[in-house]
């Protein structure tokens, strides 16, 4: 039943991507890919376009030039809801939780797309097993959650979508060391328990480097480094930051 991911097929292929904020070019000729079943980490200093890149691939930000191909299909002009339905899901750094809804309702909304609705119960089970604290708080309003719990809820909600590619924007930002560990452990489990490919954007290098198969470095809107995770270490990455 489970299709073995073909490790030479890119599930996501970005070619010559340009993005602007008004007149300001933020992403320059970016090319990268995520192979089916892989975890890919995208590093880079703050403000250099990591979030914009993810937002553009997710469909929230418009593409100026270039193309985005998902599972072989050109989705460059596709609206967000179509990309989600196809299995490309973006989890924003801003979390964007539904504050007047309970934790449970937020998670259920994560399964809004037609593919995921049938698997609501199993999805919830999986999320609660990864994040027991969310289970404890499931009837509470999302407004009452702490920063770390809100982050877990955002990731959990993204997981409910049964995505083929999950794009997570700075999952560990602002979290305590213990929570960082929990979050990346959860991401590791998501990867091993489902067939989802994962694209993680982070400033923090240690955990993503351990998880990822391949890493990219984005600097001033350009890809300046592309390596298999085994070929590079933290010190080299940080040196390339500056």
């Amino acid at each position: 039943m489970a299709k073995q991911p073909d490790r030479t097929d890119p599930i996501l292929e970005v070619s010559d991507l340009d993005c602007f904020y008004g007149d300001l070019q933020v992403i320059r000729q970016v090319c990268f890919k995520v192979l089916d079943g892989d975890v890919v980490a995208l590093f880079g200093p703050n403000g250099h376009g990591k979030s914009t890149l993810l937002k553009t691939i997710g469909g929230i930000h418009p593409t100026a030039n270039g193309s985005v191909r998902f599972r072989g299909q050109d989705i460059t002009q596709a609206p967000v809801e179509q990309r989600v339905e196809m299995g490309l899901v973006y989890i924003p750094e801003d979390k964007n939780l539904f504050l007047d809804m309970s934790v449970l309702e937020n998670l259920c909304m994560g399964a809004f797309n037609k593919r995921a609705r049938k698997h609501l119960a199993t999805g919830l089970q999986f999320v609660f097993s990864l994040f027991p604290r969310l289970a404890e708080r499931k009837s509470q309003s999302a407004m009452t959650l702490s920063g770390g719990e809100a982050r877990m809820l955002a990731i959990g909600r993204g997981m409910m979508s049964r995505a083929a590619l999950l794009m997570i924007d700075e999952p560990s930002i602002g979290l305590s060391p213990l929570l960082k560990k929990t979050v990346f452990e959860a991401i590791r489990q998501i990867h091993s328990n489902s067939e989802a490919s994962i694209l993680v954007v982070e400033q923090e290098v240690d955990y993503p480097l351990k998880l990822a198969k391949r890493i990219y470095l984005l600097s001033k809107g350009r890809i300046v480094l592309e390596k298999q995770a085994g070929e590079i270490n933290k010190a080299q990455i940080e040196k390339a930051y500056f």
Binding site: G58, G59, I60, P79, V80, E81, V84, E85, V89, Y90, I91, P92, D94, K95, N96, L97, F98, L99, D100, M101, E105, C108, M109, G110, F112, N113, R117, R157, G158, S161
Partner: protein, 296 residues
């Protein structure tokens, strides 16, 4: 002497319950639009009388029965709301001064609607017949069948709307869009389509409220403004964006109006509305059920 007092009080309270129910449903459309699309619908008056006049037209012009006329009117009002959203609102909210622009546009639309209706239907008072003629009498209490039906109808309708928003995917997607539009997008909600639907729904509810109010009172091209002002006060009183607040405030204001009309005089009704409005703005501007923060 005191038994007359009790009789009068009970009758007044029942009357207040009826008026309050009608005010509550009148405020619902405003609440939905304000909560989801974040604009104040200044065409609300026009839309409520449109619902009434459409029903009148189906009843007397086409000879349909009441239920069919009401259903057709509500469907047409839904389409009206959808077209209004897709044709105008969508463009207005993208502008930098959208809050003012939408108010002016909708106000103008309301004036246009009032005058078009005046042209088409004339200035004479129109009536939508009461649903039932008789009255119940429980000892000293007398209440019209029509009034009971209205109260029950509003209660069932509000309950149904509540279930729609909490138990259906479409209803939840409307709440999601109202609370965090980007969050709604990333879970796969088509925000534009959902907003259009919400606008259509609010329009249909507003039209329905107009029909009910017209059946209890009367219908003229001008009466929509009065309904709209009261609707705005109720929405602010109850709390922006909360349906519970709108229902509660509507009922309270209905009771207040009934009590003042009976124990004071009719001319104190409007002053009472505005005094309460001022007090709320001074004491708890976010409304009874509203929250202090601006975010939803």
């Amino acid at each position: 002497m005191s038994s007359y007092f009790v009789i009068d009080l009970v009758n007044t309270l029942l009357s207040g319950l009826l008026i309050g129910s009608l005010y509550a449903i009148m405020a619902l459309g405003l609440t939905i639009i304000q909560g989801v699309v974040r604009i104040f619908n200044f065409a609300h008056g026009g839309m409520s009388i449109l619902g009434g006049y459409l029903t009148f037209m189906f009843l007397s012009g086409a000879g349909f029965n009441l239920i069919v006329s009401m259903i057709l009117s509500c469907l047409l009002m839904f389409v009206f709301g959808l077209i209004l959203y897709r044709g105008a609102i969508v463009f207005l909210v993208k502008k930098p001064n959208w809050e003012i622009a939408s108010v002016i546009f909708l106000l103008g639309l309301g004036i246009l609607m009032e005058n078009l209706i005046l042209q088409v239907f004339g200035a004479r008072v129109k009536e939508i017949p009461v649903f039932f003629e008789d009255a119940f009498e429980f000892g000293f209490v007398r209440i019209n069948h029509h009034d009971v039906v209205l109260i029950v109808f509003v209660m069932v309708f509000v309950l149904g709307l509540n279930l729609f928003f909490s138990r259906t995917w479409l209803g939840r997607s409307i709440r999601a869009v109202a609370q965090d539009i980007q969050g709604a997008r990333v879970v796969g909600v088509n925000a534009n389509r959902t907003l259009g639907f919400a606008f259509g729904l609010a329009s249909a509810v507003t039209g329905l409220a107009g029909i009910l109010l017209a059946s209890k009172y009367y219908l003229t091209p001008q009466v929509g403004w009065e309904w709209m002002f009261k609707g705005f006060i109720i929405v602010v009183f109850g709390g922006l964006g909360t349906i519970t607040g709108a229902i509660f405030a509507g009922l309270v204001m209905g009771l207040v109006e009934a009590l003042i009309t009976f124990y004071g005089s009719q001319s104190w009704v409007w002053p009472a509305w505005f005094v309460i409005f001022l007090v709320i703005l001074l004491v708890k501007p976010e409304g009874l059920f509203g929250r202090k923060s601006a975010s939803y």
